[in-house]
Symmetry: C2
Subunit: 328 residues, 2 copies
Protein backbone atom coordinates (compact mmCIF):
# COMPACT_ATOMS: atom_id res chain seq x y z
CA UNK A 1 0.00 0.00 0.00
CA UNK A 2 2.77 2.41 0.93
CA UNK A 3 4.54 1.54 -2.33
CA UNK A 4 1.42 2.47 -4.32
CA UNK A 5 1.12 5.80 -2.53
CA UNK A 6 4.79 6.54 -3.13
CA UNK A 7 4.42 5.61 -6.79
CA UNK A 8 1.50 8.02 -7.08
CA UNK A 9 3.60 10.78 -5.56
CA UNK A 10 6.44 10.05 -7.98
CA UNK A 11 4.02 10.19 -10.90
CA UNK A 12 2.56 13.45 -9.65
CA UNK A 13 6.05 14.96 -9.49
CA UNK A 14 6.98 13.97 -13.04
CA UNK A 15 5.63 14.68 -16.46
CA UNK A 16 3.38 11.62 -16.42
CA UNK A 17 0.71 13.10 -14.22
CA UNK A 18 1.07 16.51 -15.87
CA UNK A 19 0.57 14.86 -19.23
CA UNK A 20 -2.85 13.68 -18.13
CA UNK A 21 -4.12 17.03 -16.99
CA UNK A 22 -6.74 18.52 -19.30
CA UNK A 23 -5.85 21.01 -21.98
CA UNK A 24 -8.46 23.03 -23.82
CA UNK A 25 -8.82 26.03 -26.09
CA UNK A 26 -11.65 28.11 -27.48
CA UNK A 27 -11.57 30.93 -30.02
CA UNK A 28 -14.01 33.39 -31.50
CA UNK A 29 -14.05 35.48 -34.65
CA UNK A 30 -16.86 37.90 -33.88
CA UNK A 31 -20.58 37.83 -33.13
CA UNK A 32 -23.48 39.43 -34.98
CA UNK A 33 -26.23 38.84 -37.50
CA UNK A 34 -24.49 35.76 -38.83
CA UNK A 35 -27.22 33.79 -40.59
CA UNK A 36 -27.04 30.93 -43.09
CA UNK A 37 -29.21 32.84 -45.56
CA UNK A 38 -26.69 35.73 -45.65
CA UNK A 39 -23.69 33.50 -46.21
CA UNK A 40 -22.39 31.98 -49.43
CA UNK A 41 -21.25 28.37 -49.23
CA UNK A 42 -17.81 29.54 -50.31
CA UNK A 43 -17.50 32.17 -47.58
CA UNK A 44 -18.76 29.75 -44.97
CA UNK A 45 -16.16 27.18 -46.01
CA UNK A 46 -13.36 29.75 -45.81
CA UNK A 47 -14.43 30.85 -42.32
CA UNK A 48 -14.83 27.30 -41.02
CA UNK A 49 -11.39 26.42 -42.38
CA UNK A 50 -9.74 29.46 -40.81
CA UNK A 51 -11.38 28.81 -37.44
CA UNK A 52 -10.29 25.17 -37.54
CA UNK A 53 -6.74 26.07 -38.53
CA UNK A 54 -6.50 28.63 -35.73
CA UNK A 55 -7.96 26.47 -32.98
CA UNK A 56 -5.80 23.48 -33.99
CA UNK A 57 -2.68 25.67 -34.02
CA UNK A 58 -3.41 26.77 -30.47
CA UNK A 59 -4.23 23.24 -29.40
CA UNK A 60 -0.97 21.93 -30.79
CA UNK A 61 0.92 24.35 -28.55
CA UNK A 62 -0.97 22.94 -25.58
CA UNK A 63 -0.40 19.26 -26.44
CA UNK A 64 3.31 20.06 -26.88
CA UNK A 65 3.32 21.25 -23.24
CA UNK A 66 3.41 24.89 -24.32
CA UNK A 67 1.82 27.61 -22.23
CA UNK A 68 -1.75 28.85 -22.40
CA UNK A 69 -0.38 32.30 -23.31
CA UNK A 70 1.52 30.90 -26.29
CA UNK A 71 -1.54 28.90 -27.37
CA UNK A 72 -3.78 31.98 -27.45
CA UNK A 73 -1.17 33.83 -29.49
CA UNK A 74 -0.71 30.97 -31.98
CA UNK A 75 -4.46 30.95 -32.64
CA UNK A 76 -4.85 34.72 -32.83
CA UNK A 77 -1.90 35.21 -35.20
CA UNK A 78 -3.76 33.07 -37.74
CA UNK A 79 -7.00 35.00 -37.27
CA UNK A 80 -5.13 38.33 -37.51
CA UNK A 81 -3.63 37.24 -40.83
CA UNK A 82 -6.98 35.97 -42.18
CA UNK A 83 -8.73 38.76 -44.10
CA UNK A 84 -12.15 37.37 -43.13
CA UNK A 85 -11.90 38.59 -39.54
CA UNK A 86 -11.82 42.08 -38.05
CA UNK A 87 -8.28 42.01 -36.67
CA UNK A 88 -4.88 42.55 -38.25
CA UNK A 89 -5.15 42.10 -42.03
CA UNK A 90 -8.76 42.66 -43.03
CA UNK A 91 -9.54 44.89 -40.06
CA UNK A 92 -12.36 47.37 -40.53
CA UNK A 93 -11.57 50.93 -41.60
CA UNK A 94 -11.90 54.07 -39.56
CA UNK A 95 -13.87 57.12 -40.64
CA UNK A 96 -10.80 58.33 -42.57
CA UNK A 97 -10.07 54.96 -44.18
CA UNK A 98 -7.17 53.97 -41.94
CA UNK A 99 -6.70 50.81 -39.87
CA UNK A 100 -6.36 51.32 -36.09
CA UNK A 101 -6.13 48.19 -34.00
CA UNK A 102 -6.46 47.22 -30.33
CA UNK A 103 -5.39 44.06 -28.51
CA UNK A 104 -4.92 42.69 -25.01
CA UNK A 105 -3.70 39.55 -23.26
CA UNK A 106 -3.78 38.30 -19.68
CA UNK A 107 -2.00 35.53 -17.78
CA UNK A 108 -4.31 33.75 -15.35
CA UNK A 109 -1.42 32.51 -13.21
CA UNK A 110 0.21 35.87 -12.43
CA UNK A 111 -2.60 38.29 -13.39
CA UNK A 112 0.00 40.05 -15.51
CA UNK A 113 -1.60 41.73 -18.49
CA UNK A 114 -0.68 43.76 -21.56
CA UNK A 115 -2.68 45.87 -23.99
CA UNK A 116 -2.26 48.22 -26.93
CA UNK A 117 -4.85 50.57 -28.38
CA UNK A 118 -5.05 52.60 -31.58
CA UNK A 119 -1.95 51.13 -33.17
CA UNK A 120 -1.27 51.15 -36.90
CA UNK A 121 0.95 48.98 -39.06
CA UNK A 122 1.73 46.24 -36.54
CA UNK A 123 1.11 42.93 -38.31
CA UNK A 124 0.22 41.13 -35.08
CA UNK A 125 -1.19 43.52 -32.48
CA UNK A 126 -1.58 40.59 -30.07
CA UNK A 127 2.22 40.21 -30.07
CA UNK A 128 2.50 43.88 -29.13
CA UNK A 129 0.16 43.32 -26.18
CA UNK A 130 2.30 40.35 -25.12
CA UNK A 131 5.47 42.46 -25.29
CA UNK A 132 3.87 45.15 -23.14
CA UNK A 133 3.10 42.47 -20.56
CA UNK A 134 6.50 40.79 -20.70
CA UNK A 135 8.87 43.65 -21.44
CA UNK A 136 7.46 46.78 -19.86
CA UNK A 137 6.33 47.67 -16.35
CA UNK A 138 3.00 48.78 -17.82
CA UNK A 139 -0.32 47.21 -18.76
CA UNK A 140 -1.59 49.57 -21.44
CA UNK A 141 0.23 51.57 -24.12
CA UNK A 142 -1.61 53.56 -26.76
CA UNK A 143 -1.13 55.28 -30.10
CA UNK A 144 2.26 56.44 -31.36
CA UNK A 145 3.94 55.54 -28.09
CA UNK A 146 2.74 51.94 -28.32
CA UNK A 147 3.95 51.76 -31.94
CA UNK A 148 7.33 53.12 -30.92
CA UNK A 149 7.54 50.48 -28.19
CA UNK A 150 6.56 47.74 -30.67
CA UNK A 151 9.27 48.88 -33.10
CA UNK A 152 11.90 48.78 -30.37
CA UNK A 153 10.74 45.27 -29.57
CA UNK A 154 11.44 44.30 -33.17
CA UNK A 155 7.85 43.47 -34.09
CA UNK A 156 6.91 43.17 -37.75
CA UNK A 157 5.29 46.20 -39.38
CA UNK A 158 3.40 46.26 -42.67
CA UNK A 159 2.33 49.13 -44.92
CA UNK A 160 -1.24 50.21 -44.42
CA UNK A 161 -2.20 48.82 -47.86
CA UNK A 162 -1.33 45.34 -46.63
CA UNK A 163 -4.11 45.55 -44.03
CA UNK A 164 -6.83 47.02 -46.21
CA UNK A 165 -9.03 44.62 -48.18
CA UNK A 166 -11.39 45.52 -51.00
CA UNK A 167 -14.40 44.30 -49.00
CA UNK A 168 -13.53 46.65 -46.11
CA UNK A 169 -13.28 49.57 -48.57
CA UNK A 170 -16.72 48.71 -49.88
CA UNK A 171 -18.07 48.31 -46.36
CA UNK A 172 -16.85 51.78 -45.35
CA UNK A 173 -18.34 53.31 -48.51
CA UNK A 174 -21.67 51.62 -47.78
CA UNK A 175 -21.70 52.85 -44.17
CA UNK A 176 -20.72 56.38 -45.11
CA UNK A 177 -23.31 56.50 -47.89
CA UNK A 178 -26.04 55.54 -45.48
CA UNK A 179 -25.17 55.54 -41.80
CA UNK A 180 -28.37 53.69 -40.99
CA UNK A 181 -26.99 50.80 -43.05
CA UNK A 182 -24.54 50.24 -40.24
CA UNK A 183 -27.15 48.40 -38.26
CA UNK A 184 -27.35 45.89 -41.10
CA UNK A 185 -23.64 45.27 -40.76
CA UNK A 186 -23.33 44.60 -37.09
CA UNK A 187 -21.28 41.44 -37.43
CA UNK A 188 -18.51 43.32 -39.14
CA UNK A 189 -19.13 46.55 -37.28
CA UNK A 190 -18.34 45.19 -33.86
CA UNK A 191 -16.42 42.01 -34.44
CA UNK A 192 -13.22 40.90 -32.86
CA UNK A 193 -11.08 37.78 -32.56
CA UNK A 194 -10.12 36.13 -29.31
CA UNK A 195 -8.82 33.01 -27.63
CA UNK A 196 -8.84 31.41 -24.19
CA UNK A 197 -6.62 28.45 -23.30
CA UNK A 198 -5.84 26.05 -20.46
CA UNK A 199 -2.42 24.42 -20.42
CA UNK A 200 -1.05 21.24 -18.79
CA UNK A 201 0.22 23.26 -15.84
CA UNK A 202 -3.34 24.33 -15.03
CA UNK A 203 -2.75 27.89 -16.18
CA UNK A 204 -5.38 29.92 -18.01
CA UNK A 205 -4.85 32.76 -20.48
CA UNK A 206 -7.13 35.05 -22.46
CA UNK A 207 -6.39 37.27 -25.47
CA UNK A 208 -8.38 39.53 -27.78
CA UNK A 209 -7.52 41.47 -30.96
CA UNK A 210 -9.62 43.78 -33.12
CA UNK A 211 -9.83 46.53 -35.67
CA UNK A 212 -12.58 48.04 -33.55
CA UNK A 213 -15.71 49.59 -34.98
CA UNK A 214 -16.05 50.29 -38.70
CA UNK A 215 -16.19 54.03 -39.53
CA UNK A 216 -14.99 54.86 -35.98
CA UNK A 217 -13.96 58.43 -35.20
CA UNK A 218 -12.24 60.44 -32.51
CA UNK A 219 -9.90 57.67 -31.43
CA UNK A 220 -12.77 55.49 -30.22
CA UNK A 221 -11.61 52.47 -28.23
CA UNK A 222 -13.91 49.57 -27.40
CA UNK A 223 -13.65 46.77 -24.87
CA UNK A 224 -11.01 44.65 -26.60
CA UNK A 225 -7.93 46.36 -25.09
CA UNK A 226 -9.61 46.91 -21.72
CA UNK A 227 -8.57 44.39 -19.08
CA UNK A 228 -11.78 43.42 -17.27
CA UNK A 229 -14.10 44.36 -20.14
CA UNK A 230 -12.92 42.46 -23.24
CA UNK A 231 -10.30 40.19 -21.70
CA UNK A 232 -9.73 38.61 -18.28
CA UNK A 233 -7.96 35.53 -16.95
CA UNK A 234 -7.52 34.29 -13.39
CA UNK A 235 -6.62 30.67 -12.59
CA UNK A 236 -8.94 30.91 -9.57
CA UNK A 237 -12.01 31.50 -11.73
CA UNK A 238 -11.83 31.57 -15.52
CA UNK A 239 -10.51 33.06 -18.74
CA UNK A 240 -12.79 35.15 -20.96
CA UNK A 241 -12.51 36.92 -24.30
CA UNK A 242 -15.47 38.98 -25.49
CA UNK A 243 -16.82 40.20 -28.81
CA UNK A 244 -19.67 42.59 -29.35
CA UNK A 245 -20.81 46.17 -28.92
CA UNK A 246 -17.82 47.23 -26.85
CA UNK A 247 -19.37 50.18 -25.03
CA UNK A 248 -21.77 47.84 -23.21
CA UNK A 249 -19.03 45.36 -22.42
CA UNK A 250 -17.01 48.19 -20.82
CA UNK A 251 -19.91 49.53 -18.72
CA UNK A 252 -20.67 46.04 -17.40
CA UNK A 253 -17.00 44.99 -17.08
CA UNK A 254 -18.13 41.90 -18.94
CA UNK A 255 -15.13 39.55 -18.84
CA UNK A 256 -14.25 40.17 -15.19
CA UNK A 257 -17.89 40.04 -14.10
CA UNK A 258 -18.15 36.45 -15.41
CA UNK A 259 -15.06 35.52 -13.40
CA UNK A 260 -16.55 37.30 -10.35
CA UNK A 261 -19.75 35.28 -10.55
CA UNK A 262 -17.70 32.08 -10.66
CA UNK A 263 -15.34 33.05 -7.84
CA UNK A 264 -17.58 35.00 -5.48
CA UNK A 265 -21.05 33.64 -6.18
CA UNK A 266 -19.96 30.07 -6.91
CA UNK A 267 -21.84 29.83 -10.23
CA UNK A 268 -20.67 27.29 -12.78
CA UNK A 269 -18.82 28.72 -15.75
CA UNK A 270 -21.82 28.15 -18.01
CA UNK A 271 -24.21 29.79 -15.55
CA UNK A 272 -21.94 32.81 -15.09
CA UNK A 273 -21.30 33.35 -18.80
CA UNK A 274 -25.00 32.91 -19.59
CA UNK A 275 -25.99 35.36 -16.84
CA UNK A 276 -23.74 38.12 -18.19
CA UNK A 277 -24.35 37.57 -21.91
CA UNK A 278 -28.02 36.61 -21.98
CA UNK A 279 -29.22 38.61 -19.00
CA UNK A 280 -27.06 41.60 -18.04
CA UNK A 281 -25.78 42.52 -21.50
CA UNK A 282 -28.90 41.51 -23.40
CA UNK A 283 -31.16 43.56 -21.10
CA UNK A 284 -28.87 46.56 -21.51
CA UNK A 285 -28.92 46.23 -25.32
CA UNK A 286 -25.35 45.00 -25.55
CA UNK A 287 -25.12 42.66 -28.53
CA UNK A 288 -22.35 40.10 -28.54
CA UNK A 289 -20.92 37.02 -26.95
CA UNK A 290 -17.97 35.56 -25.10
CA UNK A 291 -15.77 32.51 -25.00
CA UNK A 292 -15.03 31.33 -21.47
CA UNK A 293 -12.91 28.52 -20.06
CA UNK A 294 -12.23 27.35 -16.51
CA UNK A 295 -9.35 25.43 -15.00
CA UNK A 296 -11.21 22.09 -15.31
CA UNK A 297 -11.44 22.58 -19.06
CA UNK A 298 -15.13 23.51 -19.15
CA UNK A 299 -15.88 25.70 -22.15
CA UNK A 300 -18.85 28.05 -22.53
CA UNK A 301 -19.50 30.15 -25.65
CA UNK A 302 -22.82 32.00 -25.22
CA UNK A 303 -23.94 34.83 -27.54
CA UNK A 304 -27.10 36.93 -27.68
CA UNK A 305 -26.80 37.63 -31.41
CA UNK A 306 -28.03 35.37 -34.23
CA UNK A 307 -24.56 33.88 -34.61
CA UNK A 308 -20.93 33.90 -33.45
CA UNK A 309 -17.87 32.55 -35.23
CA UNK A 310 -16.41 30.11 -32.71
CA UNK A 311 -14.36 26.97 -32.32
CA UNK A 312 -13.02 24.86 -29.49
CA UNK A 313 -10.95 21.81 -28.75
CA UNK A 314 -12.28 20.20 -25.58
CA UNK A 315 -10.24 18.22 -23.03
CA UNK A 316 -11.34 14.96 -24.71
CA UNK A 317 -9.83 16.19 -27.98
CA UNK A 318 -13.16 16.76 -29.71
CA UNK A 319 -13.21 19.71 -32.07
CA UNK A 320 -16.24 22.00 -32.19
CA UNK A 321 -16.76 24.64 -34.88
CA UNK A 322 -19.81 26.86 -35.12
CA UNK A 323 -21.09 29.91 -36.95
CA UNK A 324 -24.83 29.83 -36.36
CA UNK A 325 -26.99 29.13 -33.32
CA UNK A 326 -28.08 25.79 -34.76
CA UNK A 327 -24.46 24.62 -34.93
CA UNK A 328 -24.55 23.80 -31.20
CA UNK B 1 -55.02 57.39 10.50
CA UNK B 2 -55.81 57.27 6.78
CA UNK B 3 -55.20 61.03 6.65
CA UNK B 4 -51.73 60.57 8.16
CA UNK B 5 -50.85 57.86 5.68
CA UNK B 6 -52.05 60.03 2.81
CA UNK B 7 -50.09 62.97 4.15
CA UNK B 8 -46.99 60.79 4.25
CA UNK B 9 -47.57 59.78 0.65
CA UNK B 10 -48.00 63.41 -0.37
CA UNK B 11 -44.77 64.31 1.43
CA UNK B 12 -42.98 61.45 -0.25
CA UNK B 13 -44.12 62.70 -3.64
CA UNK B 14 -42.90 66.25 -3.07
CA UNK B 15 -39.58 67.86 -2.44
CA UNK B 16 -39.97 67.58 1.36
CA UNK B 17 -39.14 63.93 1.59
CA UNK B 18 -36.48 64.21 -1.12
CA UNK B 19 -34.90 67.06 0.83
CA UNK B 20 -34.34 64.70 3.74
CA UNK B 21 -32.62 61.98 1.78
CA UNK B 22 -28.91 61.82 2.51
CA UNK B 23 -26.37 63.53 0.29
CA UNK B 24 -22.67 62.86 0.58
CA UNK B 25 -19.42 63.41 -1.27
CA UNK B 26 -15.84 62.24 -0.95
CA UNK B 27 -12.76 63.31 -2.90
CA UNK B 28 -9.13 62.30 -3.11
CA UNK B 29 -6.00 64.02 -4.36
CA UNK B 30 -3.60 61.07 -4.54
CA UNK B 31 -2.02 58.51 -2.23
CA UNK B 32 1.62 57.81 -1.44
CA UNK B 33 4.42 58.48 1.01
CA UNK B 34 2.61 61.48 2.44
CA UNK B 35 4.16 62.02 5.86
CA UNK B 36 4.06 65.02 8.21
CA UNK B 37 7.87 65.11 8.37
CA UNK B 38 8.09 65.59 4.58
CA UNK B 39 5.55 68.38 4.46
CA UNK B 40 6.01 72.09 5.18
CA UNK B 41 3.28 73.75 7.22
CA UNK B 42 2.69 76.05 4.28
CA UNK B 43 2.23 73.22 1.74
CA UNK B 44 -0.01 71.34 4.13
CA UNK B 45 -2.22 74.40 4.59
CA UNK B 46 -2.51 74.90 0.83
CA UNK B 47 -3.49 71.28 0.29
CA UNK B 48 -6.02 71.24 3.12
CA UNK B 49 -7.56 74.45 1.79
CA UNK B 50 -7.82 73.11 -1.77
CA UNK B 51 -9.37 69.84 -0.58
CA UNK B 52 -11.89 71.73 1.54
CA UNK B 53 -12.76 74.11 -1.26
CA UNK B 54 -13.27 71.22 -3.69
CA UNK B 55 -15.35 69.04 -1.41
CA UNK B 56 -17.54 72.00 -0.36
CA UNK B 57 -18.08 72.97 -4.01
CA UNK B 58 -19.29 69.46 -4.76
CA UNK B 59 -21.42 69.38 -1.64
CA UNK B 60 -23.08 72.66 -2.54
CA UNK B 61 -24.23 71.15 -5.83
CA UNK B 62 -25.81 68.30 -3.86
CA UNK B 63 -27.57 70.52 -1.30
CA UNK B 64 -28.93 72.61 -4.19
CA UNK B 65 -30.59 69.41 -5.50
CA UNK B 66 -27.97 69.05 -8.25
CA UNK B 67 -26.92 65.67 -9.57
CA UNK B 68 -24.15 63.45 -8.28
CA UNK B 69 -22.49 63.73 -11.69
CA UNK B 70 -22.43 67.54 -11.48
CA UNK B 71 -21.13 67.38 -7.91
CA UNK B 72 -18.15 65.21 -8.87
CA UNK B 73 -17.33 67.57 -11.72
CA UNK B 74 -17.58 70.68 -9.54
CA UNK B 75 -15.09 69.17 -7.10
CA UNK B 76 -12.70 67.85 -9.73
CA UNK B 77 -12.59 71.11 -11.70
CA UNK B 78 -11.13 72.78 -8.62
CA UNK B 79 -8.56 70.01 -8.12
CA UNK B 80 -7.64 70.10 -11.84
CA UNK B 81 -7.00 73.84 -11.58
CA UNK B 82 -4.97 73.49 -8.35
CA UNK B 83 -1.27 73.09 -9.20
CA UNK B 84 -0.71 70.94 -6.09
CA UNK B 85 -2.45 67.90 -7.57
CA UNK B 86 -1.54 65.63 -10.47
CA UNK B 87 -4.42 66.51 -12.79
CA UNK B 88 -5.03 69.38 -15.18
CA UNK B 89 -2.75 72.31 -14.24
CA UNK B 90 0.20 70.95 -12.31
CA UNK B 91 -0.03 67.47 -13.85
CA UNK B 92 3.19 65.48 -13.95
CA UNK B 93 5.34 65.56 -17.07
CA UNK B 94 5.96 62.74 -19.52
CA UNK B 95 9.39 61.50 -20.50
CA UNK B 96 9.54 64.25 -23.16
CA UNK B 97 8.32 67.02 -20.84
CA UNK B 98 4.75 67.18 -22.14
CA UNK B 99 1.47 66.90 -20.22
CA UNK B 100 -0.81 64.00 -21.24
CA UNK B 101 -3.94 63.55 -19.19
CA UNK B 102 -6.59 60.87 -18.63
CA UNK B 103 -10.04 61.10 -17.06
CA UNK B 104 -13.25 59.11 -16.67
CA UNK B 105 -16.73 59.48 -15.21
CA UNK B 106 -19.62 57.09 -14.58
CA UNK B 107 -23.29 57.54 -13.77
CA UNK B 108 -24.49 54.99 -11.20
CA UNK B 109 -28.12 55.32 -12.29
CA UNK B 110 -27.72 54.47 -15.97
CA UNK B 111 -24.23 52.89 -15.98
CA UNK B 112 -23.39 55.32 -18.75
CA UNK B 113 -19.71 56.21 -18.73
CA UNK B 114 -17.19 58.40 -20.52
CA UNK B 115 -13.41 58.49 -20.64
CA UNK B 116 -10.53 60.19 -22.42
CA UNK B 117 -6.90 59.12 -22.44
CA UNK B 118 -3.67 60.80 -23.54
CA UNK B 119 -5.20 64.19 -24.17
CA UNK B 120 -3.24 67.44 -24.21
CA UNK B 121 -4.29 71.02 -23.71
CA UNK B 122 -7.80 70.42 -22.35
CA UNK B 123 -8.14 72.56 -19.22
CA UNK B 124 -10.64 70.20 -17.62
CA UNK B 125 -10.20 66.62 -18.86
CA UNK B 126 -13.08 65.53 -16.62
CA UNK B 127 -15.40 67.72 -18.71
CA UNK B 128 -14.15 65.92 -21.81
CA UNK B 129 -15.00 62.56 -20.22
CA UNK B 130 -18.47 63.90 -19.39
CA UNK B 131 -18.99 65.04 -22.98
CA UNK B 132 -17.99 61.62 -24.29
CA UNK B 133 -20.63 60.11 -22.01
CA UNK B 134 -23.36 62.62 -22.83
CA UNK B 135 -22.67 63.52 -26.45
CA UNK B 136 -21.16 60.49 -28.15
CA UNK B 137 -22.26 56.88 -28.50
CA UNK B 138 -18.87 55.84 -27.11
CA UNK B 139 -17.28 55.27 -23.72
CA UNK B 140 -13.61 55.88 -24.46
CA UNK B 141 -11.87 58.25 -26.84
CA UNK B 142 -8.10 58.64 -26.94
CA UNK B 143 -5.34 60.89 -28.23
CA UNK B 144 -5.82 63.31 -31.11
CA UNK B 145 -9.31 62.00 -31.81
CA UNK B 146 -10.43 62.72 -28.26
CA UNK B 147 -8.93 66.22 -28.48
CA UNK B 148 -10.73 66.84 -31.78
CA UNK B 149 -13.99 65.73 -30.15
CA UNK B 150 -13.37 68.02 -27.16
CA UNK B 151 -12.74 70.97 -29.49
CA UNK B 152 -15.97 70.32 -31.35
CA UNK B 153 -17.74 70.26 -28.00
CA UNK B 154 -16.40 73.73 -27.31
CA UNK B 155 -14.26 72.80 -24.31
CA UNK B 156 -11.60 75.20 -23.10
CA UNK B 157 -8.03 74.56 -24.25
CA UNK B 158 -4.87 76.06 -22.76
CA UNK B 159 -1.30 76.26 -24.04
CA UNK B 160 0.98 73.58 -22.69
CA UNK B 161 2.91 76.18 -20.64
CA UNK B 162 -0.24 76.87 -18.63
CA UNK B 163 -0.22 73.28 -17.35
CA UNK B 164 3.48 72.99 -16.53
CA UNK B 165 4.64 74.11 -13.09
CA UNK B 166 8.21 74.70 -12.00
CA UNK B 167 7.98 71.95 -9.39
CA UNK B 168 6.95 69.40 -12.05
CA UNK B 169 9.92 70.45 -14.21
CA UNK B 170 12.22 69.89 -11.24
CA UNK B 171 10.55 66.58 -10.46
CA UNK B 172 11.11 65.33 -14.00
CA UNK B 173 14.76 66.42 -13.92
CA UNK B 174 15.24 64.61 -10.62
CA UNK B 175 13.66 61.40 -11.92
CA UNK B 176 15.61 61.50 -15.16
CA UNK B 177 18.88 62.20 -13.32
CA UNK B 178 18.37 59.16 -11.11
CA UNK B 179 15.58 56.78 -12.07
CA UNK B 180 15.86 55.04 -8.72
CA UNK B 181 14.82 58.32 -7.13
CA UNK B 182 11.38 57.71 -8.55
CA UNK B 183 10.57 55.36 -5.72
CA UNK B 184 11.09 58.24 -3.33
CA UNK B 185 8.50 60.24 -5.19
CA UNK B 186 5.64 57.81 -5.29
CA UNK B 187 3.00 60.24 -4.11
CA UNK B 188 3.59 62.44 -7.11
CA UNK B 189 4.50 59.59 -9.41
CA UNK B 190 1.17 57.83 -9.22
CA UNK B 191 -1.26 60.38 -7.91
CA UNK B 192 -4.65 61.26 -9.25
CA UNK B 193 -7.71 63.23 -8.21
CA UNK B 194 -11.19 61.80 -7.90
CA UNK B 195 -14.66 62.25 -6.49
CA UNK B 196 -17.69 60.13 -5.61
CA UNK B 197 -21.08 61.62 -4.81
CA UNK B 198 -24.61 60.68 -3.76
CA UNK B 199 -27.44 63.06 -4.65
CA UNK B 200 -30.93 63.60 -3.23
CA UNK B 201 -32.40 61.35 -5.90
CA UNK B 202 -30.37 58.43 -4.58
CA UNK B 203 -28.03 58.44 -7.57
CA UNK B 204 -24.31 57.74 -7.29
CA UNK B 205 -21.51 58.98 -9.54
CA UNK B 206 -17.75 58.50 -9.67
CA UNK B 207 -15.08 60.49 -11.52
CA UNK B 208 -11.29 60.43 -11.77
CA UNK B 209 -8.72 62.70 -13.47
CA UNK B 210 -4.94 62.44 -13.69
CA UNK B 211 -1.73 63.39 -15.41
CA UNK B 212 -0.72 59.76 -15.08
CA UNK B 213 2.78 58.66 -14.15
CA UNK B 214 5.68 61.10 -14.08
CA UNK B 215 8.31 60.41 -16.77
CA UNK B 216 5.88 58.05 -18.55
CA UNK B 217 6.75 56.82 -22.03
CA UNK B 218 5.19 55.00 -24.96
CA UNK B 219 1.69 56.35 -24.40
CA UNK B 220 1.35 54.61 -21.05
CA UNK B 221 -2.17 54.70 -19.68
CA UNK B 222 -2.99 53.78 -16.08
CA UNK B 223 -6.24 52.91 -14.36
CA UNK B 224 -7.78 56.39 -14.19
CA UNK B 225 -9.52 56.33 -17.61
CA UNK B 226 -10.41 52.62 -17.35
CA UNK B 227 -14.00 51.99 -16.33
CA UNK B 228 -13.88 49.18 -13.75
CA UNK B 229 -10.27 49.83 -12.72
CA UNK B 230 -10.01 53.50 -11.67
CA UNK B 231 -13.68 54.48 -11.73
CA UNK B 232 -16.99 52.69 -11.24
CA UNK B 233 -20.48 53.64 -10.12
CA UNK B 234 -23.64 51.57 -9.82
CA UNK B 235 -26.61 52.64 -7.67
CA UNK B 236 -27.08 48.97 -6.72
CA UNK B 237 -23.69 48.77 -5.02
CA UNK B 238 -21.37 51.77 -4.78
CA UNK B 239 -19.29 54.46 -6.41
CA UNK B 240 -15.49 54.25 -6.35
CA UNK B 241 -12.58 56.38 -7.54
CA UNK B 242 -9.06 55.00 -7.14
CA UNK B 243 -5.56 56.43 -6.88
CA UNK B 244 -2.34 54.49 -6.87
CA UNK B 245 -0.03 52.36 -8.97
CA UNK B 246 -2.43 52.02 -11.89
CA UNK B 247 -1.10 48.79 -13.38
CA UNK B 248 -2.16 46.87 -10.26
CA UNK B 249 -5.54 48.57 -10.15
CA UNK B 250 -6.14 47.49 -13.77
CA UNK B 251 -5.10 43.85 -13.22
CA UNK B 252 -7.40 43.58 -10.20
CA UNK B 253 -10.22 45.68 -11.72
CA UNK B 254 -10.10 47.53 -8.42
CA UNK B 255 -13.11 49.87 -8.51
CA UNK B 256 -15.56 47.32 -9.93
CA UNK B 257 -14.28 44.56 -7.65
CA UNK B 258 -15.27 46.62 -4.59
CA UNK B 259 -18.76 47.05 -6.02
CA UNK B 260 -18.88 43.29 -6.80
CA UNK B 261 -18.06 42.40 -3.21
CA UNK B 262 -20.87 44.66 -2.02
CA UNK B 263 -23.43 43.45 -4.54
CA UNK B 264 -22.60 39.76 -4.90
CA UNK B 265 -20.97 38.88 -1.59
CA UNK B 266 -23.04 41.24 0.55
CA UNK B 267 -20.06 42.85 2.27
CA UNK B 268 -20.49 46.29 3.77
CA UNK B 269 -18.88 49.11 1.82
CA UNK B 270 -16.09 49.41 4.39
CA UNK B 271 -15.41 45.66 4.37
CA UNK B 272 -15.33 45.53 0.56
CA UNK B 273 -13.07 48.57 0.15
CA UNK B 274 -10.74 47.32 2.89
CA UNK B 275 -10.58 43.83 1.32
CA UNK B 276 -9.50 45.17 -2.08
CA UNK B 277 -7.12 47.90 -0.87
CA UNK B 278 -5.55 46.28 2.18
CA UNK B 279 -5.66 42.66 1.08
CA UNK B 280 -5.84 42.10 -2.69
CA UNK B 281 -3.89 45.15 -3.83
CA UNK B 282 -1.50 45.25 -0.88
CA UNK B 283 -0.57 41.58 -1.30
CA UNK B 284 0.04 42.14 -5.00
CA UNK B 285 2.27 45.16 -4.31
CA UNK B 286 -0.24 47.69 -5.58
CA UNK B 287 0.24 50.89 -3.59
CA UNK B 288 -2.70 53.24 -3.36
CA UNK B 289 -6.16 53.83 -2.05
CA UNK B 290 -9.76 54.50 -2.97
CA UNK B 291 -12.71 56.62 -2.02
CA UNK B 292 -15.98 54.70 -1.95
CA UNK B 293 -19.58 55.70 -1.26
CA UNK B 294 -22.83 53.74 -1.18
CA UNK B 295 -26.43 54.78 -1.66
CA UNK B 296 -27.00 55.12 2.10
CA UNK B 297 -24.25 57.72 2.28
CA UNK B 298 -21.63 55.49 3.89
CA UNK B 299 -18.13 56.65 2.99
CA UNK B 300 -14.97 54.54 3.08
CA UNK B 301 -11.51 55.90 2.20
CA UNK B 302 -8.92 53.15 2.81
CA UNK B 303 -5.30 53.39 1.60
CA UNK B 304 -2.31 51.09 1.98
CA UNK B 305 0.25 53.88 1.65
CA UNK B 306 1.47 56.15 4.47
CA UNK B 307 -1.03 58.81 3.47
CA UNK B 308 -3.76 59.87 1.06
CA UNK B 309 -5.10 63.36 0.38
CA UNK B 310 -8.81 63.03 1.06
CA UNK B 311 -11.91 64.89 2.14
CA UNK B 312 -15.59 64.15 2.63
CA UNK B 313 -18.86 65.71 3.61
CA UNK B 314 -20.98 63.08 5.35
CA UNK B 315 -24.80 62.90 5.32
CA UNK B 316 -24.90 64.68 8.71
CA UNK B 317 -23.03 67.61 7.15
CA UNK B 318 -19.78 66.96 8.99
CA UNK B 319 -16.65 67.77 6.99
CA UNK B 320 -13.65 65.44 7.14
CA UNK B 321 -10.23 66.35 5.73
CA UNK B 322 -7.18 64.12 5.96
CA UNK B 323 -3.64 63.82 4.61
CA UNK B 324 -1.97 61.36 6.96
CA UNK B 325 -3.06 58.10 8.55
CA UNK B 326 -3.34 59.74 11.96
CA UNK B 327 -5.89 62.22 10.59
CA UNK B 328 -8.63 59.56 10.88
Amino acid sequence: MLRIVLLAIVFAATGHAVAERPVAIAIHGGAGTILPEHMSAEKEAVIRAALEQAVRAGHEVLTSDGTALDATIAAIRILEDSPEFNAGRGAVLTNTGTVEMDASIMDGKTLQAGAVASVKGIRHPIEAARRVMDHSPHVMLIGDGAMDFARRQGLEFKDEDWFITESRRQQLQAIQADETAATQLSESWFSTVGAVALDRHGNLAAATSTGGMANKRWGRVGDSPIIGAGTYADNDSCAVSATGHGEYFIRHVAAYSICSLVRIKGLSLAEAADEVVNNTLKNAGGDGGVIALDSKGNISMPFNTPGMYRAAVHPDGSVQIGLYREDD
